[in-house]
């Protein structure tokens, strides 16, 4: 490589190399851009005008990306993924608060317990369900998730707090809440909660990206595309699916543990079938065939929810229209967008459209330039 440079490399070759490098590492670059741009963009006065949801959105992106490892890459539609988010959330909340005689644990340990529980449940449930066929898999995961929610509601050993959830003493020592803002205090440094979440986001998303680009990830794609062929070509489809389920569950719990701090506790509604359903919808909305699909889907979903909820009066210069009554039904508008997308292109999603659009634009601009 350096030899080539020494013998005199034209500017075009250098540019080509830079471009191929950028193409190869476009996912890490894109993830950094998401972190850098998300907060300034949504806190722009014309959009939300406040930044508190930015961290929440990043956490949801990790969760839906973990879900999509299973759905988009391995082709398994779980309708009960909220339980894995919940394992992380509840383990972190119970561990940190040390309620009802539970041992008081530092946050990383409590989170690790939640991840381990999620991975174990994912593994065992996977062993039982991955070969059962699509519909059965969806229903079995849904049923188990319902059982988990029911259990949390019954408040076993007074651990889960029933329908109130776990909300007392749930902030770990290194997180402080001042004027409703979370701050991470680390060896005397005060770090914005957003940057702490960004670090978790980058580590988790890069790990997921490495998984999908690894030989392991390509085996998952082969299984999704044609399971019978994959088996005939020597791929142990069952083991791959079970491991994908396990990994997906673990990353979901990781997101759950951080979400616990962000939401000041574990709530029972997180475990509900609505959360599981929203997860599927966000992934499909964004585009399940793309790594950035869940990122786009979560952004559009969460932003729209927040924006339409806050939006009250439309100023048109000469007159103002009060829309707050209509727009609180934000699900209706998102639902309409969702229906249009699924009818037009179920696998492409918003991200697929954006990609095609940018590609067309690039081709056109290049055409004009030449």
């Amino acid at each position: 490589m350096s030899g080539e440079t020494a013998t005199g490399e034209g500017p075009t070759e250098a540019l080509d190399r830079a471009r191929s490098l950028l193409l190869r590492y476009r996912v890490p670059v894109g993830l950094v851009l998401v972190v850098l741009l998300l907060r300034p963009v949504i806190s722009h006065p014309l959009l939300l005008g406040y930044e508190a949801v930015a961290a929440t959105i990043l956490i949801w992106m990790v969760f839906v990306a973990a879900f999509n490892l299973l759905f988009g890459y391995a082709g398994l539609l779980s309708f009960g993924h909220a339980m894995f988010l919940g394992f992380g959330m509840y383990a972190a909340a119970i561990g940190v608060s040390g309620r009802a005689g539970a041992p008081e644990l530092p946050f990383p340990v409590a989170a690790a317990v939640g991840i381990a529980v999620a991975a174990t449940v994912g593994y065992l449930l996977g062993r039982l369900t991955v070969e059962k066929g699509e519909i059965y898999f969806a229903f079995l995961t849904l049923a188990v998730a319902q059982a988990v929610e029911f259990t949390a509601n019954r408040n076993p050993l007074n651990l889960t707090g029933g329908s109130n959830g776990v909300t007392q003493n749930v902030l770990p020592g290194f997180v402080e809440s001042t004027r409703g803002q979370l701050v991470v205090v680390f060896t005397g440094l005060e770090i914005d909660w957003y940057w702490f979440v960004s670090a978790v986001f980058l580590v988790a998303m890069l790990a997921l990206w490495q998984i999908v680009r690894s030989p392991f990830g390509r085996s998952l794609v082969a299984i999704r595309e044609n399971g019978d062929l994959a088996r005939a070509m020597g791929i142990n489809t069952t083991r791959y699916k079970v491991q994908a389920f396990t990994i997906s569950a673990a990353f979901s719990a990781l997101a759950g543990s951080v979400l616990m701090i962000d939401r000041y506790g574990a709530s029972q509604e997180t475990l509900s079938v609505i959360t599981s359903g929203d997860t599927v919808l966000m992934a499909v909305l964004g585009g399940v065939r793309y790594f950035f699909g869940p990122v786009a889907g979560v952004f559009v979903w969460q932003f729209t929810e927040e924006f339409l909820n806050e939006f009250e009066v439309l100023h048109l210069g000469f007159t103002s229209v009060d829309l707050s009554g209509v727009l609180t039904h934000w699900q209706f508008f998102l639902g309409a967008l969702f229906v249009v997308l699924v009818v037009v292109a179920p696998l492409e999603g918003i991200w697929g459209y954006l990609r095609d659009w940018v590609r067309d634009l690039y081709v056109r601009v290049k055409g004009v330039a030449e």
Partner: protein, 289 residues
């Protein structure tokens, strides 16, 4: 496993006398020449039923190392079911499958490619949304890393790419590595299927109608490719084929299947001259023969 012990006691690995063994004694096998313990691929009394229907009926087949064997028979004779039973796609109702003298009947389908047994499909089974190169590369990867591998830290492009390109060259798809598999022509898709089967690094290759739907020119090219695979790669090839020109020109021996039963096995000229085959089973194919 020990050949002498088996020969002496006449029992299978697990020590129980097998029904298949006894049936083979009472009923002369139409393919008696090959001993299952020395053949590259052998079946012993292989049977597969679907409810009341017997699709494969006590087929005992022995294919020698390096042989190119064609399996012919009318539609519905059970040829593809025989392949599916040999590959483990369908578990046999009865009977055994031997690969290189080893009983593989109980092995999972996904294990067989790693034991040296691979197949192509009658319909074009592909990873359709993936590129031609990736279709082959993922099989090379599987062949090298095993049926399951936690290979999480590498870039997939660094595993098996060169070998996959070589195989595309072998089957004549080297000009199309980045085409999506679904966009290939029918004939190219069939060739891609052969490349994927070869990517498992097999010793015995089962090809299910490799020339179906091909133009005469492409059929000849594929027939040459199959001979090349046998001669240059030294593989044992079992071929289901309807094109009698291909069958007669390239196969060493032909097995005739009818209503699930093997009714004759022999070199092409012997099968052509076989009255039983002519009269009872090949009806419509007589002119072609």
């Amino acid at each position: 496993m020990s050949d002498t012990a088996d020969a002496a006691t006449g029992t299978a690995d697990d020590g129980e006398p097998t029904d298949a063994g006894r049936e083979a004694d009472t009923m002369p096998s139409p393919d008696p020449a090959v001993d299952p313990t020395t053949a590259a691929l052998a079946t012993d009394g292989l049977r597969r039923t679907f409810g009341e229907v017997t699709a494969v009926d006590r087929v005992s087949l022995g294919v020698e190392r390096g042989e190119l064997r064609a399996i012919i028979g009318p539609n519905g004779a059970g040829k593809t079911t025989l392949f599916n039973t040999i590959m483990g796609t369908l578990p046999p109702t009865d009977g055994r499958v031997f690969l290189d003298g080893q009983d593989v009947t109980e092995r999972d389908e996904h294990e067989r490619p790693h034991l040296g047994l691979a197949r192509s499909f009658q319909s074009n089974e592909l990873f359709e949304e993936q590129t031609v190169l990736e279709n082959v590369r993922v099989v090379v990867q599987t062949s090298r890393r095993g049926a399951f591998s936690f290979d999480l830290f590498r870039d997939h492009r660094s595993v098996g790419r060169e070998r996959a390109l070589e195989l595309l060259d072998t089957v004549g798809l080297d000009a199309l590595p980045s085409t999506l598999a679904k966009n290939l022509s029918h004939g190219d898709q069939r060739r891609l299927g052969i490349a994927m089967a070869l990517a498992t690094d097999p010793e015995v290759l089962l090809l299910d109608e490799p020339t179906s739907g091909m133009s005469p020119g492409a059929t000849t090219a594929t027939a040459n490719l199959i001979e090349e695979i046998r001669d240059e790669l030294g593989l044992t090839v079992v071929l289901i084929e309807h094109d009698m020109d291909v069958v007669l020109s390239i196969s060493d021996r032909i097995s005739v299947l009818n209503r699930g039963s093997l009714i004759a096995t022999g070199p092409p000229e012997e099968i052509q001259a076989n009255d039983a085959v002519q009269d009872a089973y090949l009806g419509g194919m007589r002119e072609e023969l």
